[in-house]
Symmetry: C2
Subunit: 222 residues, 2 copies
DNA sequence: GTCTATAATAAGATAGAC
DNA sequence: GTCTATCTTATTATAGAC
């Protein structure tokens, strides 16, 4: 009953079965499946079997390429962190009038978190683990400098022009912006349920986007 | 080899072994152990065996009192949600000048989150589960009204006196306050690691407390 | 490089004595 | 009400053929 090769010589030494051998594609396929599973279930809740089911390949390949569940998780983490910071550098804040620059940065941050629930969820999960896997990855720490330097430039310029207060710390302002943008995504389920708000509604979203802009600008105002 | 009772009649029908029978205490003991475990590991990461080890009793008792891991988790959730709201009602905001009332509410919220990392972590975990266990508990939803009514009263009074803007929504303001207070606790590990901030430092804490007060007051300002 | 089958163990839940 | 011992299933990880 085993399907031994036909007696007449095969034209090529083609792969025996299944899909074409394609290491890069298989690896990427696994990584995408892992993103879905880890984002939905967290590290502890994720099942390697469930990841395998999401792929076009088998569980064995997961261990072949990634060695362990934890290592796969770290790669997922790096991938999702990488996505957000790459787009942030294209805002050209230095070309804008300070107040407009802040507005653009806040709106970008707001929309980005809103669109990338995956990122928000994995970060939450990471904090449940006391950030130990972020600490383990040297790549992640280095890619987050850009926001701060860009923001710092705008703040200085605004202060010099007299539209912003003196002595504002870019890190603090970044914290203020991030917290709102992050929280309304990360806590939408509990906050939404308890206070009966639907964060998916366009009207609510628009009001909140405007609100955080207004709030930050007022905070910076001289 | 079984330790059958001595032939001479025992003085009292005392408990056979181990500690004294004490249902309430045993139940509470389990609940406290469960809080520690669920808060640290999340629902998926928590192990019933680990909870049992934290108690002065056995795993069997966990199932005896709580039936399942999930039900135990729900009770933990209710317990932690209950703790926060009960204290909030003692602020007597209505007796204060509006700006002072806001300041007291913000500072209370800030300090409360800062002191109750457990609460913050369980809420994060709940959101990973799309808030399904919060939805399952009718108790939780009902206990969160008080903040909003208190805040609404202050906002109205402030608007009437001309110190605050008109038409501010208490829910939005609550969101603004909560997001900052929550985020700096929930994300302290990732944010702290990436930007090298130590949220435990008193100086940092004091600066942030003042910052969120200032930020909210400026947002409300007429 | 890829597959199927399986080992090894961990974890939720229960039996049954006392 | 409480304990020890155990059942059952799920889960990470690996062996070995092709």
């Amino acid at each position: 009953m085993t399907t031994t090769p036909a007696l007449c010589a095969a034209p090529e030494p083609a792969p025996r079965k299944g899909r074409k051998n394609n290491p890069e594609k298989t690896r990427e396929n696994i990584l995408q499946a892992a993103i879905s599973e880890f984002v939905q279930q967290g590290l502890a809740g994720a099942r390697v079997d469930a990841i395998a089911e999401r792929t076009q390949t088998s569980k064995r390949m997961i261990y072949y390429y990634f060695n362990s569940k934890e290592q796969l998780y770290v790669e997922v983490l790096e991938k999702l962190y990488g996505d957000i910071r790459s787009t942030e550098s294209n805002l050209h804040l230095a070309e804008l009038e300070p107040r407009l620059g802040i507005r653009r940065l806040v709106e970008f941050t707001f929309d980005h978190h809103d669109r990338n629930v995956d990122f928000v969820r994995i970060v939450c999960n990471e904090n449940m683990h006391h950030g130990e896997y972020v600490k383990r990855s040297s790549a992640i720490r280095s890619m987050n400098k850009s926001v701060l330097t860009a923001l710092d430039e705008v703040l200085r310029r605004g202060a010099a022009e007299g539209v912003f207060r003196q002595g504002l710390d870019a890190l603090d302002v970044h914290l203020l912006i991030s917290s709102f943008c992050f929280y309304r995504v990360s806590n939408r389920h509990t906050f939404g349920e308890i206070f009966q708000v639907d964060f998916e509604e366009t009207a609510v979203k628009d009001r909140h986007r405007e609100m955080i802009c207004e709030s930050v600008l007022r905070f910076l105002q001289a």
